[in-house]
């Protein structure tokens, strides 16, 4: 049997149940470790292929979820390996916590389609299904790549790249002093290595703490706020967040870049993207914002269109309505508190759109209705969250934790005066761990860095 893999095998939503499963040589052991029976006691003997009621407990003995668990011994299982299935309460929080616990306990997050791959390689699936298996691996991988790339836009990728650069410089310096010992380069001291390693560790810690707050875990319903400049988009975001994050001014076009926020509306996670006003612009800074706005539209699950009905209907409004029509959308007719109103004109143009709410965001009128509408859409099943996204996030977090462990191990070795070539292993591993998040792990990078930064050679 191969190493133990774990994954969430149901679509992630707020309702129903979520199944987390494991396969591999450690599956049964890990399962036993994290499960206690209905009487809060460890199970004496596992029942093969029987559902057992109990709780999942973490390392500290805290109950994470009330579950049903099934232990299935190989080879008569889907993958022909030992398997464990855990039926948790649905919803992202519960399945994610269970999956993370399994990974901490020794399982590895499965690759895309890995259960199916194992099933095939272990002879469980028919030969005729080989192509289907390839399709699964292919499509899921390509998709996940898109997802992770999408996620890496912006600050997360920037920060990971920064940490990787610190590590790369360290590795390059170590390699230079090993491979070019007679060269006239800055001497590498254990003190400076330690300082850099600690800096990298701190940066990872910072990222991890935001990860735990759910800020980099971008697993919400992708919601985009769309509208002309100065119609109240930022005010809307603020009203939802109830905190002043986005800059609100009277000068059109001040929300220059994309602002992303995460909120929970009665348990429904939303990732809200506030876009720069959609309109043709010459301003380069603003243009970036506009381009990215169009980009985030394409990935949106839900669009909230905001219109200022105190101003006349324009071509730009028309354009925005067109963008709304092909997506799940809710329209806000804002500034109804102001005397002059072109409301009817807007309503005429908005024909065919079901969710229209009259608001005065400044006066906090209609915001509650908006939230109710979002909830309705979700529970009616019109909105859901890609489980791929959740997985990708757990993957990122796992990789960050792995990198951190490796850096800590390097620091320990530095303190113990272990030779450079041993320390280098951990540093390089940490660099590669982070590279797996961004898909950039090429050994050539190190050589390039060496020759770029150091004057070496005969």
């Amino acid at each position: 049997m191969l190493d133990t893999i774990a994954a969430i095998s149901t679509a992630v939503g707020e309702a129903g149940i979520g199944i987390v499963r494991m396969s591999g040589k450690g599956a049964i052991n890990i399962g036993e470790e994290v499960f206690i029976g209905f009487d809060d006691k460890k199970i004496m003997e596992i029942q093969n292929k029987r559902l057992t009621y109990g709780h999942i407990i973490d390392e500290n003995g805290t109950k994470i979820d009330e579950v049903l668990i099934a232990f299935m011994k190989g080879p008569y299982t889907y993958t022909r390996e030992d398997m464990v299935e855990i039926y948790c309460h649905g919803g992202i929080i519960s399945v994610r916590k269970v999956l993370e616990l399994l990974i901490r306990s020794g399982a590895r997050l499965s690759e895309r389609g890995e259960f199916t791959k194992r099933a095939f390689l272990n002879g469980r699936l028919d030969l005729s299904q080989a192509e289907a298996v390839i399709d699964i691996i292919r499509s899921k991988t390509d998709k996940s790549f898109e997802v992770s790339f999408d996620q890496l836009e912006g600050s997360l990728s920037k920060e990971i790249r920064e940490i990787r650069n610190i590590l790369l410089s360290m590795v390059a310096h170590v390699e230079v002093s090993i491979d070019f010992p007679e060269e006239d380069v800055n001497e590498l001291t254990y003190e400076s290595l330690k300082t850099d390693a600690q800096l990298a560790e701190k940066k990872i810690d910072d990222l991890l703490s935001t990860a735990n707050k759910g800020k980099i875990l971008k697993d919400g319903i992708n919601t985009v706020i769309l509208g002309k400049p100065n119609v109240g988009k930022s005010s809307l975001l603020n009203a939802i967040l109830k905190e002043n994050r986005a800059i609100v001014t009277d000068v059109p076009g001040t929300t220059r870049d994309i602002i992303e926020e995460y909120v929970n509306i009665d348990g429904i996670p939303l990732k809200i993207v506030d876009t720069a006003g959609i309109r043709a612009t010459e301003d380069i800074v603003e243009k970036i914002g506009v381009d990215r706005a169009r980009e985030s539209l394409e990935n949106a699950d839900l669009i909230i269109g905001v219109f200022d009905v105190s101003r006349d209907f324009t071509e730009e409004d028309k354009e925005i309505i067109n963008l709304l029509k092909n997506k799940k959308s809710i329209v806000l007719l804002n500034k109804i508190d102001i005397e002059s109103s072109f409301k009817d004109k807007f309503l005429k143009e908005l024909e065919g759109i079901n969710h229209i709410i009259e608001t005065s965001i400044i006066e906090n009128v209609g915001v509650k209705t908006l939230e109710e509408d979002i909830k309705d859409l979700f529970y009616e099943g019109d909105l859901n969250i890609e489980s791929d996204v959740v997985i990708t996030n757990i993957r990122h977090k796992t990789q960050l934790e792995k990198a951190k462990k490796n850096i800590q191990s390097a620091i320990r070795d530095i303190d113990m005066d272990v030779p450079l070539d041993c320390i280098e292993i951990d540093l390089k591993n940490a660099w590669e761990d982070l590279g797996e998040i961004s898909g950039e792990t090429i050994a050539e990078d190190i050589l390039d860095k060496i020759f770029k930064d150091f004057c070496i050679g005969k």
């Binding site: 192509e131 491979d179 050994a443």
Partner: protein
């Protein structure tokens, strides 16, 4: 041109073209494996000429020399006979990166190697310029020389170094030439092109040689050799060497040197854009260093002897393509070289090489049976890199003829494996030099254990003598016995022992510990723990080192062994070399193209091709399983 009249010059098993470091190891390997071999060279006076620099070994390269030795090659034995200074580099770092580097007596190195070749059974050496390789039906048949000799052969190994269409550049002057005043080999290139080979240009260079008596050593820092001489060859371990070592000297460039270079940069063919060949980044010319690192106020220059019978001195760090006139001006501004007298100018040489991805990991051409390539023609650089490839080519040419299984070293077994795998899997854009950082299993691929890793393999091949094999068995036995013994020697927490520990800068113990456990402590080692171990016998330095390393780094080595196990799994999944990957559905376009070009021999090798993603590897695995089941059904 008039049609060349050829005559039958005889029939051999293996023809080796070239007598550099690759050619020599190839020829010795095949003749020692019982193959009738002839080695043809442009000049018998340039056998293993050290044209580029008078050193053997160094980081990574020293590892290669040890591995060649462990497999029964000649390089280590030859340098042990002819070195004039020896240094172990990196001794302040871990044992995995300790690297032996020595100065060679250039002439003596040539003479001693020539003797070995002349006295080798099954081997003939002959001065001749090969101008064509005969290939029929995708199989090599022999070679033709410029004077019309036609040698029939079952296998041919091409190790042409920098001779193929060699062109020397010195400032505005350039001319067709081999290295160091030798003739170039032009016709062979033309004939290879006619046969459809794609040749590309690479470049390398060497500094000037200057007269010993024209140097003011008082302004330089002396660099003597090590007091304790450690030989390269495992056969010489424990032997005493009585060598009068010759020192090297360290000096520096001055701002004046940099000014002269900047003023004359336009006269360098590299900067004027007249050289198309790509040079190695780790052997930059002095011009390159000054342009790329403009802030650096001075650069190191080492003065190294070329031998005991000559006053020519090698000026390491000052290779250049500037005109001779400028070279002379600039060298004079180096500290201590104010009155320098040139004996040979610095030059760059451009030459033909192939794209090594057309080769298998045996060094054989993917499509032409029994045609092998080794050394600089494959885009590598360095004597040691060449020798390693030559050895593997010579071995596999012999194995092919004998109908035996091919010999491939993988990345977890040897630096030679890393070198060849990198070349044939990734190709190279610049002359490839070995570095320890290229070896992902560096901790286990040490120079001190090359014999433990490889000598049994060499013995099975028939390259390793009984003497060498028995030495290995004895070493293994002694190392293992000592490791076991140290695990049993108890150190009790007596007042006396704890006092000794404190004196050694270590911490005291409360419970009995073993000497083995003490050695593992960073502040202690094998030597310093001898006071706790009265029964200890005097062992050879190599044995002591081996024991200490295996104890101290056990944890790290174990971790690496687990990685190696993982690595081996994919290496064992074999792929057919003549497979058409377009028959597999589900591969990405890029992967498909690359796989069809590189033709990896295992899924492991495939996974190292850039552009082949983990998903593509899964597709390959599924395909292999599909094929296995189909084959099983057919049976």
């Amino acid at each position: 041109m008039e049609e060349l009249k050829t005559y039958n010059a005889g029939e051999v098993d293996v023809v080796v073209i070239g007598a550099g470091h690759a050619g020599v190891e190839a020829a010795l390997a095949s003749s020692r494996m019982g193959m009738k071999t002839i080695m043809l060279t442009m000049s018998l006076d340039s056998i293993v000429a050290l044209s580029c620099n008078p050193n053997i070994g160094g980081t990574g390269k020293g590892h290669l020399v040890r591995e060649i030795d462990a497999l029964g090659g000649e390089m280590a034995l030859n340098i042990d006979k002819t070195f004039i200074q020896s240094r172990m580099l990196n001794t302040s770092k871990g044992p995995a990166v300790h690297s032996l580097r020595v100065q060679a007596d250039k002439k003596a190195y040539h003479i001693e190697m020539k003797k070995v070749l002349e006295n080798q059974e099954n081997l003939k050496i002959s001065q001749a310029e090969v101008i064509d390789i005969v290939i029929e039906d995708g199989k090599v048949k022999g070679v033709i020389t410029r004077t019309g000799a036609m040698y029939k052969a079952q296998a041919v190994i091409l190790a042409s170094g920098t001779y193929l269409r060699g062109r020397v550049y010195i400032g505005e002057v350039n001319y067709s030439s081999g290295p160091d005043g030798m003739f170039p080999s032009n016709i062979l290139s033309e004939n290879l092109i006619k046969k459809g080979f794609k040749l590309r240009r690479m470049k390398t260079g060497t500094p000037a040689r200057v007269h010993k008596d024209s140097i003011d050593y008082s302004k330089m820092e002396i660099q003597p050799g090590d007091d304790e001489i450690i030989p390269f060859s495992f056969l010489n371990m424990g032997k005493k060497f009585h060598v009068e070592q010759v020192p090297c000297h360290l000096t520096y460039t001055t701002p004046k040197v940099h000014d002269i270079i900047r003023e004359n940069l336009h006269r360098s063919p590299m900067y004027a854009g007249n050289i198309e060949g790509v040079g190695p980044r780790y052997c930059p010319s002095i011009e390159d260093k000054i342009v790329r690192f403009a802030d650096k106020e001075r650069h190191q220059i080492f003065i190294e002897p070329e031998g005991l019978t000559t006053k020519e001195m090698y000026v390491q760090g000052a290779s250049s393509t500037l005109p001779e006139e400028v070279q002379k001006q600039m060298y004079k501004e180096i500290i201590g070289l104010e009155n320098v007298e040139f004996m040979r100018p610095a030059y760059a040489i451009e030459y033909d090489s192939i794209d090594p991805t057309i080769l298998k990991r045996t060094m054989e051409h993917m499509e032409i049976k029994n045609l092998f390539f080794a050394g600089q023609i494959n885009g590598s650089s360095g004597y040691e890199e060449a020798a390693g490839q030559g050895l593997v080519a010579g071995i596999n040419a012999s194995l092919n003829i004998q109908g035996r299984e091919p010999f491939v070293l993988d990345r977890s077994e040897a630096y030679i494996g890393v070198l060849i795998d990198d070349l044939v899997t990734k190709g190279t854009d610049e002359p490839y030099r070995m570095m320890t950082s290229r070896a992902e299993y560096r901790l286990t691929l040490r120079q001190d254990n090359a014999d433990l890793r490889l000598t049994k393999k060499g013995y099975e091949l028939g390259l390793v003598t009984e003497e060498r094999y028995n030495m290995l068995i004895e070493k293994e036995k002694q190392v293992n016995e000592e490791l076991e013994r140290l695990k049993k020697v108890k150190v009790n927490p007596t007042e006396e022992n704890n006092k000794r520990l404190e004196e050694l800068g270590s911490t005291t113990t409360q419970t009995p510990t073993t000497v083995s456990e003490l050695i593992r402590r960073p502040e202690l080692n094998y030597e310093s723990t001898s006071i706790f171990d009265p029964e200890r016998k005097e062992l050879l330095r190599e044995i002591r080192l081996q024991v200490e390393t295996q104890i101290k780094y056990e944890g790290y080595i174990k971790k690496q062994m687990i990685q190696i196990e993982q690595f081996k799994k994919l290496e064992k999944k074999r792929l057919d070399l003549d497979f058409d990957y377009s028959l597999i559905k589900g591969l990405s376009n890029e992967a498909l193209q690359k796989l069809n070009k590189i033709k990896p021999d295992s899924v492991g090798q495939a996974s190292r091709i850039s552009g082949v993603s983990p998903a593509d590897i899964n597709v390959l695995l599924i395909y292999l399983e599909q094929k296995r089941r189909k084959d099983a059904m057919d049976d």
